[in-house]
C-alpha cells in the first residue's frame, strides 16, 4: 500500500512537472492572451492609442470568428503608460503578471526602449509598430520584430517628392522645426539627409518643447531665412499651429509632416490654413483599395463612433496583429514563445489583407514594411491621395 502511494505521488509529481514545463504563459487550451501598451491617458497621444486598440480589436475579432488561433480564442489586455517610459515598464510587468503570452504594442519611442531589457530576458514575442524605433531591432533581438519605415525615411520620401515635383522652378530652401526629443532627432536626420542628397539650401534647424502651442517666433525665423519647404516636426497639434502662423504671414510653403498629419483632427485643424501638405506612410491610406478589407471588418466589429475614430494607426496595429496571429497559427497546437519568434524570423510571407505589401522577416533582419509612399492632403477639402507608389529609401 505504502509503495503504491509513493508511486502515485511520484506520478503526480512527474505529471505536474511535465505540465509546468510544457505550458507556456498566457496559453491555455481555449485562449491565447496578447498584451498591448499604449498611452491611453496622455493628453496629446490618447486618441492615437485608442486608434491602435481599434486596429488590434478588428484583427482579433476577425481571427476569432474564423476559430481563433488553432481553436484558441484571442484575448487582448490593454495597459496605459501615459507616454512615460517608467510607466511602460510598470505596465509590462503588470501584463506579465497577468499571464500575457506576447506583445502587440509596447508603447512609443522611449517607452519601447525602456521595455527592451525585460522583453529580451523573458523572450516575449513583440511587434513594435506604434512608433518605429530602430534600436529595438538593430542589433537583432531574437523575439522582437518591427514593422514600419523610420520617420527619417518617411520624411525623406516626402522631401524628395516635393523637390522633384512641387517647386515650379523656384530654388528650394528647406527648414525644420522639430520636437526636442528622440522623435525630433529622427525628423532632423531626414532634414540633414535631404540637404546632403539634393544639395539643398537650408535654414538652421529649430527645436521646441513637446506641447508648445505658439510657433510665431519660429515661423518668423523661417520666413526671414526664405524657407519654402518646411518639415513640421511636431506629433499632433503642433503641425497645424505651425501652419497657422505660416498662413498668417502668407508664406508660399510646402509642408512635410510625419504620418500623424493624416489624422482627421489634424486635417480639420489645418483647414483654415488652406495649405496642401504632405505626409508619408507605409500602409495603404484609409479609403484606398488596400484598406478596403480592413474597413469592411471594422464596420462589422466596431461601434459606429469607433469606426469614425479609425486612422492609419488602426491600420498599422491591424497589420502587426495579423502578422503575430499568423506566426502563432503556424506553430500549431504546441504554441510557445520560441516557436513564434522562430516562425516570424523564418522568411515566410505574412499577409495583411492589403494594408501593406506581404511582410517577411529573416533571422538577421527583424524589420519589415519599410517602403514608404507619399500622401498629399488638401486641407480645404480634407481629401488625401497617395501620389507615389511604395518605395524604399
Amino acid at each position: 500500500m505504502k509503495m503504491l502511494f509513493r508511486k502515485a505521488l511520484l506520478a503526480a509529481g512527474v505529471s505536474l512537472f511535465a505540465t509546468g514545463a510544457m505550458a507556456e504563459q498566457g496559453v491555455t487550451d481555449t485562449e491565447v492572451v496578447f498584451g498591448n501598451i499604449v498611452p491611453l491617458t496622455h493628453p496629446v497621444t490618447a486618441s492615437l492609442a485608442y486608434q491602435v486598440i481599434y486596429g488590434n480589436t478588428v484583427a482579433a475579432a476577425e481571427w476569432n470568428e474564423k476559430g481563433g488561433i488553432n481553436g484558441r480564442k484571442i484575448v487582448i489586455k490593454d495597459e496605459d503608460d501615459a507616454y512615460v517610459p517608467a510607466n511602460t515598464v510598470q505596465a509590462l510587468q503588470k501584463l506579465i503578471d497577468e499571464g500575457v503570452f506576447a506583445m502587440l504594442t509596447t508603447g512609443a519611442g522611449a517607452g519601447v526602449a525602456a521595455t527592451l531589457p525585460i522583453l529580451e530576458e523573458q523572450a516575449i514575442p513583440t511587434m513594435v509598430n506604434f512608433s518605429p524605433y530602430e534600436p529595438a531591432v538593430n542589433p537583432v533581438k531574437p523575439s522582437i520584430f518591427m514593422i514600419g519605415a523610420s520617420y527619417e525615411d518617411l520624411l525623406f520620401g516626402e522631401i524628395k517628392y516635393i523637390v522633384e515635383n512641387k517647386m515650379d522652378g523656384k530654388t528650394p530652401k528647406i527648414g525644420v522645426i522639430r520636437q526636442d526629443d528622440d522623435f525630433g532627432k529622427q525628423v532632423e536626420t531626414a532634414f540633414t539627409r535631404a540637404i546632403k542628397d539634393f544639395g539643398l539650401d537650408y535654414a538652421d534647424p529649430l527645436t521646441f518643447k513637446r506641447g508648445q502651442k505658439d510657433f510665431g517666433a519660429e515661423i518668423l525665423k523661417m520666413r526671414a531665412a526664405g524657407v519654402n519647404i518646411l518639415i513640421a516636426g511636431g506629433v499632433t497639434s503642433e503641425i497645424p499651429a505651425m501652419a497657422k502662423e505660416a498662413a498668417k504671414f502668407k508664406m508660399d510653403l510646402q509642408i512635410a509632416t510625419v504620418p500623424t498629419g493624416q489624422l482627421t483632427p489634424i486635417v480639420k485643424l489645418m483647414q483654415p490654413t488652406g495649405f496642401t501638405y504632405f505626409s508619408g506612410d507605409y500602409v495603404s491610406p484609409l479609403g484606398s483599395k488596400g484598406a478596403e478589407h480592413f474597413e469592411a471588418m471594422a464596420n462589422k466589429y466596431l461601434k459606429e463612433d469607433e469606426v469614425k475614430g479609425l486612422s492609419r494607426y488602426s491600420l498599422t496595429a491591424y497589420a502587426a496583429s495579423l502578422i503575430m496571429f499568423q506566426a502563432a497559427e503556424a506553430c500549431g497546437k504546441d504554441l510557445t514563445r520560441a516557436c513564434i519568434s522562430e516562425k516570424l524570423a523564418s522568411g515566410e510571407k505574412f499577409e495583411t489583407n492589403g494594408v501593406t505589401q506581404p511582410i517577411s522577416f529573416s533571422a538577421d533582419k527583424h524589420i519589415a514594411a519599410t517602403a514608404t509612399l507619399v500622401v498629399e492632403i488638401d486641407s480645404k477639402t480634407g481629401a488625401s491621395k497617395a501620389v507615389t507608389e511604395l518605395m524604399d529609401f
Partner: protein
C-alpha cells in the same frame, strides 16, 4: 498602562525610540517587507521598488525642505544628475556598478553647491524658483549635450551586477533598495539627533535667531543642500538600475511636485512621514485606477480616459486637504491616533 512621556535623561531624549512596542512593530514591518517578494508578482514587486526608491528620494528632500526649511523644486534635476551619472559611467566608461552608484550621490552633492551657494541669500519662493531653474538647466543639458549624455536617445545600462548580485532580477533589486532605504533612514535619523540636525531645525524655525546662537548659516545650509542632494542623487542611481534604460522624459517637473507632495502629505520634517508619503503618492493612482474600474461601465470608460488628469487633481486635492486639516500630514494623523489610544479613556 502607558499614559504619557516623562523623559528623565538626555540619552533617552535623543534615542530613536524609547518604547519597546515601537521596536516590536518595526521588526514586524521589516519581517513583512522581507517576505513580500515570496508572495508578490512582478507588478507588485515593481511597485514596491518604486516606493522604496521614492522613499529614499523623499527622505533626501525632507532633510532640506522639511528639516532645514529650504524649499526646493529642483529635486528632479538632482535625481536626473544621479541617474545619468550611474548610467553613463556604467554604459560609456565601463565603471563597475559598485563605484558608479555612490558616484551618483557624490556628483549630485557636488552640483548642489552650484545651487546652494547662490541660494544662500534666498528664501521661500525665490529659492524654489532658483532650484526649479536648476532642474531645467540639468534636463536641457542632458537633452542637448548629446556627445556626453546620448541626448534624446537615452542610455541603456547592461551591467547591473553589484557585489555579485544582479539587480536586473526584481527580487534582488527589491532587497537592495530596501537595504539602501534602511541605511538612509538610519543615517538621517542619526543626523537629526546631532548638533547638525538641531542646527537644521533651528535654521528652519528662525534663521536669524539661529545665527545669533552661533550657527553658521552658510555652512549648515550648504551641508543640508549637499546631504539632501547626495541622498536624492543616490535615489537617481537606483532608478538607473530599476529601469536599465534612462531618458530625460523620466525627470519632468511633475516629479519635483510629486516629491514635494510626498513630504507634505507624509508630514514635513519627519523621516517616517517621508516614507509614508512616498508610499501614499505612488499608490494613489493605482487605487484611483482600481476605484474607477469598480464604477458602472459608462462612467468608468469616461473617467479612465482622464486618469492622468484625475491623478493630478487628486494630488493637488490631497495637498490642500492635508495643509488645511492636518498640517503634520499622515504621520500627524498617526501620532494623534497613537496618543488617543495610549491615553484612553483620558484622551480628548
Amino acid at each position: 498602562m502607558r499614559t504619557g512621556n516623562h523623559i528623565e535623561s538626555y540619552p533617552r531624549h535623543i534615542s530613536l525610540s524609547d518604547n519597546p512596542v515601537v521596536w516590536f512593530w518595526l521588526v514586524a514591518l521589516m519581517a513583512a517587507m522581507i517576505v513580500l517578494p515570496a508572495f508578490s508578482g512582478l507588478f507588485v514587486l515593481g511597485l514596491a521598488i518604486r516606493i522604496l526608491i521614492a522613499a529614499v528620494g523623499a527622505i533626501g528632500l525632507n532633510l532640506l525642505t522639511g528639516s532645514t526649511g529650504q524649499i526646493s523644486l529642483g529635486q528632479s534635476g538632482f535625481l536626473a544628475a544621479g541617474c545619468y551619472t550611474t548610467g553613463l559611467l556604467i554604459a560609456d566608461y565601463n565603471w563597475p556598478p559598485e563605484l558608479a552608484l555612490p558616484m551618483s550621490g557624490i556628483v549630485a552633492a557636488a552640483l548642489s553647491f552650484l545651487v546652494g551657494i547662490p541660494s544662500l541669500r534666498l528664501k521661500g519662493l525665490y529659492l524654489a524658483i532658483t532650484t526649479l531653474a536648476f532642474s531645467f538647466i540639468i534636463t536641457q543639458f542632458l537633452l542637448f549635450a548629446e556627445p556626453i549624455t546620448h541626448g534624446p536617445y537615452g542610455v541603456r545600462i547592461e551591467d547591473t551586477v553589484l557585489f555579485g548580485f544582479d539587480l536586473a532580477d526584481p527580487t534582488t533589486m527589491y532587497y537592495f533598495c530596501l537595504g539602501i532605504l534602511v541605511l538612509v533612514t538610519l543615517g538621517v535619523l542619526n543626523i537629526m539627533r546631532t548638533r547638525v540636525g538641531r542646527a537644521f531645525n533651528a535654521i528652519r524655525d528662525q534663521d536669524i535667531a539661529a545665527r545669533a546662537m552661533g550657527i553658521n548659516l552658510t555652512t549648515y545650509k550648504l551641508t543640508a543642500f549637499a546631504a539632501s542632494s547626495f541622498i536624492v542623487g543616490l535615489a537617481g542611481g537606483l532608478m538607473a538600475f530599476q529601469f536599465r534604460f534612462i531618458n530625460v522624459d523620466i525627470f519632468s517637473v511633475t516629479l519635483a511636485i510629486e516629491a514635494l507632495a510626498m513630504i507634505i502629505v507624509g508630514g514635513l520634517g519627519s523621516v517616517a512621514g517621508a516614507i509614508i508619503g512616498a508610499a501614499f503618492i505612488i499608490l494613489l493612482p493605482e487605487f484611483v485606477g482600481d476605484a474607477i474600474g469598480l464604477l458602472p461601465a459608462g462612467i468608468s470608460d469616461v473617467l479612465a480616459r482622464g486618469a492622468l488628469e484625475i491623478k493630478g487633481l487628486l494630488i493637488g486635492l490631497v495637498i490642500i486637504l492635508t495643509l488645511r486639516l492636518e498640517p503634520d500630514g499622515l504621520i500627524g494623523v498617526w501620532r494623534n491616533l497613537k496618543r488617543y489610544w495610549s491615553r484612553w479613556p483620558l484622551s480628548v
